[in-house]
Symmetry: C2
Subunit: 319 residues, 2 copies
Amino acid sequence: MAGCSEFDLIDRYLARLGAGRDDVVLGPGDDAAITRGGGKPLLMALDTLVEGVHFPVDLPAEWIGYRALAVNLSDIAAMGGEPCWALLGLTLPAPDEAWVAPFAEGLGRLARAFGVAVIGGDVTRGPLTVSLQITGRATGPALRRDGASVGDRVWISGRPGEAAAGLGVWQQGDAREQARWQGLRQAFIAPRPRVALGQALAGVASAAIDLSDGLAADAGHIAARSGVALHLDPSCCRPSARLLRWAGEAGAYRLQLGGGDDYELCFTAPAEADAAVRAAARRARSPVRCIGEVGDGEGIWWGDHRIGEAAAGYRHFSV
Amino acid sequence: MAGCSEFDLIDRYLARLGAGRDDVVLGPGDDAAITRGGGKPLLMALDTLVEGVHFPVDLPAEWIGYRALAVNLSDIAAMGGEPCWALLGLTLPAPDEAWVAPFAEGLGRLARAFGVAVIGGDVTRGPLTVSLQITGRATGPALRRDGASVGDRVWISGRPGEAAAGLGVWQQGDAREQARWQGLRQAFIAPRPRVALGQALAGVASAAIDLSDGLAADAGHIAARSGVALHLDPSCCRPSARLLRWAGEAGAYRLQLGGGDDYELCFTAPAEADAAVRAAARRARSPVRCIGEVGDGEGIWWGDHRIGEAAAGYRHFSV
């Protein structure tokens, strides 16, 4: 696209993306954006998506834009916060308007749905990489990974493992199969960050994390940071019917423990907060399930069996 | 490095990087960092550096880490703010400890020097790319690009063009030449963001921008945003002696107008603020120079000649 500079692209597609917010004093176009923080603690996260590592090379631009924000919204959800502002670092091989337009549309649609303003960033030339930084505000006591106590219950939202199955469906490429397993496919392509649930759990849950690398791996972070063991009860962990149908019995359990990209929440709460957890989930219209409890010791346990690190989900760089 | 995961790398080198700050409630290691914003407006920027695009492939890791923070500090400087917190998105082809250690050292050293805490981020596998997001606080009225008025004077700090010359010195590779032109080389490798100058100019300057894409291009942003013309006076724009020696008369002027990566400030201020500008520069120990004035119209003018967009500095994607 001769004559199209990064500035044209930014101006056309990436300025004023997402929601309008009264606390944005100055949006894109200056050396920095200006916002009003207000009195509450700020929650700040940054995630990078690399083509072929974090999403398949054939994922449409619309869903790459969606995903870049969704994974960051999920971080704010896991802290129990309200997402506010995002900055976008977009690295592109070429200034391809036909790619940037749907990318901006996918990102902008999700931003508007969650009240997030995209206040700035940087567009550069290079291999396709998307870094997005998000800032939110705490709406109550922040949900950290280090707050789980012995005797707490372990909970999850949604149906972990379905996104990994959905990636499998996506990769099959067969249109009939994709239509047949549409629900799994959507779990992968369009994960819905549990922002409302996270906020409803602030002050109720004792610890929380979002599921990006798989239930066992991510729950392992709560265990490690809190200095406890998380005991999962196999009888409470039956995978969803469609996951069982797609992957078979053993495969479904394996995906549920080790599959990534669900962006559901795993959290702990005192046993006496059971009713409060269920009320929070109802308010947030999010399905939740108690899958175990917190004990002395360390690691993630599946009945009597400790789940090894090697089996515990996806890790970049692991060789 | 078998068995080394992203988590090990993050924990070892990138956690607790930079300054300790009382306003950081929770640093790296959770879904998001927690900070106390305080009452002042926040300044937020993000810049991405791509290997081979924003720095030469043979630039040592120490200086890539330094540069990733320096370019962001420069954005906060250009707004007149105090830099506070950074999040790092580091994409690496392999978890190479011999690369990450000096990278972290270069970034951390500059962060400590400027009181910045690195509070989180994301390490991923992929082509070498560094995205860094910085948040600062306004220390006075923020220095925007859109505040220049007709009659204001145009100022620069330092010696624009030297960084581009320094890149040339770097690329020559000859050790004797590199030693001979050490000062120019340093202007490219280790640009010193003008944070103190920016803060001293808050309430004094009417508009400011940092010089990343070249004086003509960046001053052009002030002109465009403020709806004015910037007239540079050639008699006030004599390049530094060493730039003249290295590049010759015509080359030095060309580099001064079009060379990038200086991370100096270009700013405007009312004529009656001359003494206040000089006092601010002395307080910040930054050399400044008046190089022209703001007039009606548009664009950047060099005497009677309007500088065309094509000549105005470096643009990614321009084809």
